[in-house]
Symmetry: C2
Subunit: 242 residues, 2 copies
């Protein structure tokens, strides 16, 4: 079973205070980029893998989705998602993506935000999603960027001349990374960008768009502190088609 | 016109002494990875963009290619390629890839090794290659990896604890990079991996394989000094299909 870090009290409390938890999709820096590659959601049957508090599920329902299935490993997140949702087109279930089973050809969009880097067996998950999608359906997801995931010490440092640098190492050493983010001992799985893309291609997906998120000029005006995001990408956004 | 660094005396002399120049394809660490994604070359009409001394052209002819057109901006390299080639299926021409024109639907494989990071207008080049390929034809190329290209100071350094790190910065600031490699003032163009892939997709290519080259365990046994290659990828290999 995948680590269920979200149900650890300190993690949950920390996570609940993030901008994306308080303000929803518009509180996530990368949402504009995601939205630009999402298909029209109206009349779509959607599965959201790692749905958290249900912000995307409610957005999709508001856009006229036919149905939304929100899945998450965290009981606390599903409980709160249910509490904050009053829409018969949305259903939430607890699910471990590491052992996910889904009915065949029954969704028009699979969506996931920042969940798959917690998954060890990515090829299995991708094959499951491929089977669950109707032909021509879309698959849009974000993960932590492998450049962000890889280092032994994933924190800004400076070089001999005082320049801010991202201390990259271990990029090609794939596998488990343990970090202290919101709680101690958060387990993630580092894969290179190539490995992620090749898993999608091997499962039968066509790659439509690959974006290594960076702030727009407008975002940099509003958030000058995001300038460091130009030095190394934090999020990876991939759009694929079955 | 693209910078013709290869015809600078000091660069040409330095380049001529590299393992890949002396030993050909087997002298290039990434050749095994390239070979694994190349189609069967027999009866193929091939264009090699940045053919250098013609090692790949002669390999392809040896594999039964129907024709090979080797193109390079460097007069000295084309001169030496012609000198070392005695095969009527191979033709070499001087060409600036920045302004390349090719006949339509006339090749079954476009190949390029470590040339496109010298090209400023990559979308134009990719569109030209797409038009020049027959439907279903393959496009296989390597470039310097953007992680390798991006930094202001692209050299290994150490962090506060003496660990070897690659000082990544500017990954999302695309554009010109000037380095001193074999000669002073070598001009290259940094693009993120996403930008490179999206240019291929926009031109109509399907992405078949993306590999961020790393040494195999066998190669590490033979070349323990390549261990640093596990810390950041130096080469990017992409296979696409028209």
């Amino acid at each position: 079973m995948a680590q269920n870090i979200y149900d650890k009290r300190e993690f949950f409390e920390g996570y609940s205070q993030l901008s994306r938890s308080v303000h929803g999709l518009d509180g996530a820096a990368e949402w504009g980029s995601i939205r630009a590659v999402l298909p029209d959601l109206s009349d779509k049957r959607i599965v959201d893998l790692g749905c958290g508090f249900g912000w995307f599920a409610r957005h999709a329902a508001g856009q006229g989705a036919k149905s939304v299935l929100g899945l998450d490993i965290s009981e606390r997140m599903i409980a709160r998602a249910r509490q904050e949702t009053a829409d018969a087109t949305i259903r939430y279930d607890i699910a471990d993506l590491e052992h996910l089973e889904l009915p065949g050809a029954s969704f028009d969009l699979a969506y996931s935000s920042l969940a798959f880097h917690y998954i060890e067996d990515f090829p299995r998950l991708v094959a499951t999603i491929h089977r669950a999608l109707a032909p021509g359906a879309d698959f849009v997801f974000t993960i932590e960027h492998p450049i962000y995931m890889a280092p032994v010490m994933p924190m800004w440092t400076t070089d001999g001349e005082g320049r801010r640098i991202w201390p990259l190492d271990g990029y090609s050493r794939e596998g488990q990374r343990t970090t202290d983010w919101l709680a101690k001992g958060v387990v993630k799985y580092h894969r290179t960008l190539g490995t992620t893309l090749n898993a999608l291609i091997a499962a039968g997906f066509s790659i439509r768009h690959v974006e290594e998120w960076r702030p727009s000029e407008e975002q940099l005006m509003d958030h000058p502190e995001w300038a460091e995001e130009m030095d190394r990408p934090m999020f990876l956004l991939i759009a694929a088609q079955r």
